[in-house]
Symmetry: D2
């Protein structure tokens, strides 16, 4: 008798997936001849144009290797080390980047507890008390994640309200858009509507979690904020030499509807997964499913059983909450199998 | 009559080339199903094994996105901010990383002028005068490039002599091996002979300049030096999420002889290019051609003419010295065309 | 009629006071001849001996210019940048050092809300969940203030319990002792009992707030932790050249009972101030008065009236809480005058 | 017979001296009542006014604890971490601050060998080659020491020429004025003439080496450069709480002619020491004596004999060069005794 085969797709994270085949094809197609390294090449020029088509001609676009680099360097561009960055307690920059923001920018992160991963003006306005007083760090950035780390999605007016507050206080609004495609699709809006049009100043535009191999983009909607960014990127160890291989992926993602197709698919399958899990007794969803993440409380004793077959992360050990993510390549069969297994374990 | 076509391959840098087809194939082959992100996957396990086959079982192996990251984070692992890193004036860490070593490690770089890019004990021993005196930075690393930025190659006994000096002084020997394959091939030695066997402690193993898309490895030959490296890599913004796509490239490079084939080829073509240029009057080679770089003085007035058709870097403006690099995909036809054009310009 | 004279002593902070006359005398007495700079002098040797008399012979003692330097450099000595420092939300390192700890150490501060300024094991143990997981900062220091920023004082068993938790988890216990004299006097204990004997590893020993002009000491109770501190202090810009003038102050403070006399006095007057304020209707004390600080809620409309004559800080704007500090030179007359004025304003 | 008494004044450094009695008196006089901490006090207001009397009303003046802090924080105020600071190889920031400039500013120091400690345009202009090229650090500061670490003094037109070069290249001119009083006196000029009037932008004004206990000033001659300096000073751990005790020293130094008297005296005695040493066979002066330092080659075998009685520093071990410094309290008798001893050793 054969042992149970390892399932080929888990729900651990959208970065456990590989790359979309169209991305692989783009890389193969870009592998022709020599081009100047470090971004002065036609692939990069075309990819930048795609970004500007989506976000406007005045958008400054820079590619980096990964998401932590995109967040940290984007924030560095608009801060001094005595500044503070306000964010949600659950923000990736706050809990999942091993202190990279503090190390590289020197800034303190001021985090606020949020039930749903969303920063609001009410939750942060007390941070303004020490402005101008040199003993205290000076708030300069509000950083939000779209979609949030809890799978929820900011509506445009929620972003606008934070942007207005930021600008009134001489701050900038940064968005960690590792899953921005999922957010846009969720709201049935284009990418502008939830970024530049809602007042965002700096955006980390995610590639890897939407089907790329590697590569993220840092976008500045006011070019003056990007004035020194080329130096920050290089000193920040995120200037790719063979840039064309990131650029061509972004071109493939953005020139057609690949970004939207993949996000629509993973969002849909997350909702489907949520619907099925809701039916299982003893399992409680903890967040509305607005993007490609499902958060649920599963009693501790079942979790270890489930993890024998499926790798996934316990999100909050205190309350036994797990996180399940879908990706561009999750199938309905994957969900049926997983939910079947859950039902077998949790009776 | 058609206009002269733009040559598809330049001599500007080995990172102006694309990727070797076998590398592309490996990526496509690795794009199957889900694996755990951040390196806990079978591709990475296999790639690490390949490195250990070349360098010994006790080698600690970590993959990062790029070369500046590899150098800086490897050095960070063995230093405190009050330490100094001794290197050649021409070292990549000294002149081509926009101060990333200083920014991330806090260390000062102590550089020495060298005619050939090579550090020697004689050139650096005066840096030992302030040891133990808290007003001075404390030397902790000697960093050498193999091959050097001048295209020369350290012989094993030269490395050994630096290693012995380092270890006697409680320092470690770091090697920037962005072009280590070219160096090994040049000496007709295996990779061990010019690294661990010659006393090197930390190695940046280059991928991009030998036909990969992206990805470098940091190797520690004493695992204790790597104790905290996983945190340094993550905080250093160089932990790739979809790690498998770097790992599979290294597997392709190292499991067979791809690393050696490509380096042999580019070295051979560099020698050929040098031989042809030497014949051109008014052009003087400035360095022995021991790897894939050719350094030559070309009178200023010709340089701008040449650059109208060929992109390459002026290495030393004071003496009108240029650098020409070959890569795995340079052809004999490329050289004939280029030399022909040079002859036409320089009469 | 003469206008009301400006009171010469406020309750704003113990650093609004000048220096104790015995301190001034010590400085004048030390101003004789030449001695080697940077600490290799007999004054420093004698001051170190005084510290070792109080704290034990194996204590490593280093003098620095000020309190923020003492805290930050002491923490730097025991951390790597990917570490985290756990502290109270109200900690000086967290809110009053303009992000100096993050900037210089690279570490993230993990703060916990506390009603009384005290860290407890229960409040912090959830920070241990991510240990060993490279995406998260690694807790390495628990930092407590003795006395706390709320004027409360840790009992030895409370410190011991934190020390045990720290050591069990491979962490160190740091104490910000800007007001350690006040704490020792409050508990009627010697300095050892609330530091080394209770498990503290690194101590910032405060001078300025107990009657010195400037100067703080960083004490390591395990000398191995201090191995590199001389370099950290110099690179941290806190190696005083004319060290003798700090050392002689510490000798004056510690060789007799000056440290104790001054702290006893300021504690006593704080209790007296508290007793008087308690009697004023509409004023509510918010913390037990265990050292030289008094915390009280005073309705907003009275605060601005009071501040016309007396400078002091609003501690918590949300709840209209003020902080009042006594110092070694506060007099009973000062308190009578202040309370009289308060009563006039608040009826 | 009594053994020879240890000489009470050495020639090791001007910071081996104590403080001038007028400085001690000023401190004692300032020790009255309470004033607001951190600089918002009348002593500081008066001291700032004294500086503005010397340097002009638009000078922004900030006090810090010490010289390394003054240099590093002043440079931080005008740089980004990807910038470079050009200086002499012998500069204090380059060799005597244990890498503090690199650690705190992130910048690389580009140093040039100089026979006399002086930077000139010719020696540094090659650093401009990589401007705008992101792989290279971007020069932003020229830092010079006045007097230099070799005891020489820049003439106003030498400073002006560096200032013009700096400003033409979008750089600022920083002056380490640890011994600026000695330089001004040497040139028989006022303080303006060799700073603001010669084009200097940022100045570290030294106190300790001219008779203060501690305390230095950072001066910005264009207030816009100081915009964020209050935060930088605090985050840089150099905001003294009892600021008045630094301020009152500066007031004593600058309100009358104390700064000039002391510097005139130490300069004069240095010349006298030089004249006497010149007469000793086998001793060769290596620099013109333009301030309070004397540099001389003394054969190695004599140095250790001399150091048995006199503590001083070997400046350059390669050529057996020593440095001897005079200070405000050096006496002619000190010089006679020392030279007598030298003659006894060196025959």
């Amino acid at each position: 008798m054969k042992s149970q085969p390892q399932p080929s797709r888990s729900f651990a994270s959208d970065n456990n997936a590989g790359a979309h085949q169209e991305i692989i094809d783009a890389i193969a197609a870009a592998n022709v001849g020599h081009v100047i390294a470090y971004g002065d090449d036609p692939f990069t020029a075309r990819a930048v144009k795609q970004f500007q088509k989506h976000f406007g001609k005045n958008t400054a676009v820079y590619f980096v290797f990964g998401g932590t680099g995109a967040n940290v360097l984007g924030i560095k561009a608009v801060t001094n080390p005595y500044n503070a960055v306000i964010c949600a307690e659950s923000a990736h920059i706050n809990v999942d980047e091993c202190g990279a923001p503090e190390k590289f920018t020197g800034c303190k992160l001021l985090d606020v507890a949020t039930p749903d991963g969303k920063v609001t003006v009410d939750r942060i306005k007390h941070f303004m008390h020490g402005v101008g007083f040199e003993h205290h760090v000076q708030p300069r950035v509000i950083s939000i994640s779209q979609a949030t780390e809890m799978g929820t999605v900011y509506k445009p007016h929620e972003i606008r309200s934070l942007a207005d507050f930021a600008h009134k206080n001489n701050m900038v609004l940064h968005m960690d858009g590792a899953r921005i495609a999922n957010a846009a699709v969720s709201l049935n809006l284009n990418l502008r509507a939830i970024t530049i049009d809602a007042g965002v100043d700096v955006l980390s535009f995610g590639g890897a979690k939407n089907g790329m191999l590697y590569g993220e983009a840092v976008l500045f909607f006011d070019k003056r904020l990007a004035e020194n960014f080329k130096y920050i990127r290089k000193q920040g160890m995120h200037l790719p030499s063979k840039m064309r291989f990131i650029s061509t992926q972004f071109e493939a993602l953005l020139s057609g509807d690949l970004w939207k197709r993949s996000a629509t698919h993973s969002n849909r399958l997350a909702r489907q997964l949520a619907r099925e899990l809701e039916k299982v007794p003893k399992i409680t969803l903890t967040q509305p499913v607005e993007s490609n993440g499902v958060y649920a409380i599963i009693p501790k004793k079942y979790i270890s059983e489930l993890q024998k077959k499926y790798f996934f992360y316990v999100w909050n050990e205190e309350i036994s909450e797990v996180r399940l993510m879908t990706s561009f390549d999750t199938t309905e069969e994957d969900i049926r199998e997983f939910v079947g297994f859950v039902k077998k374990i949790v009776r």
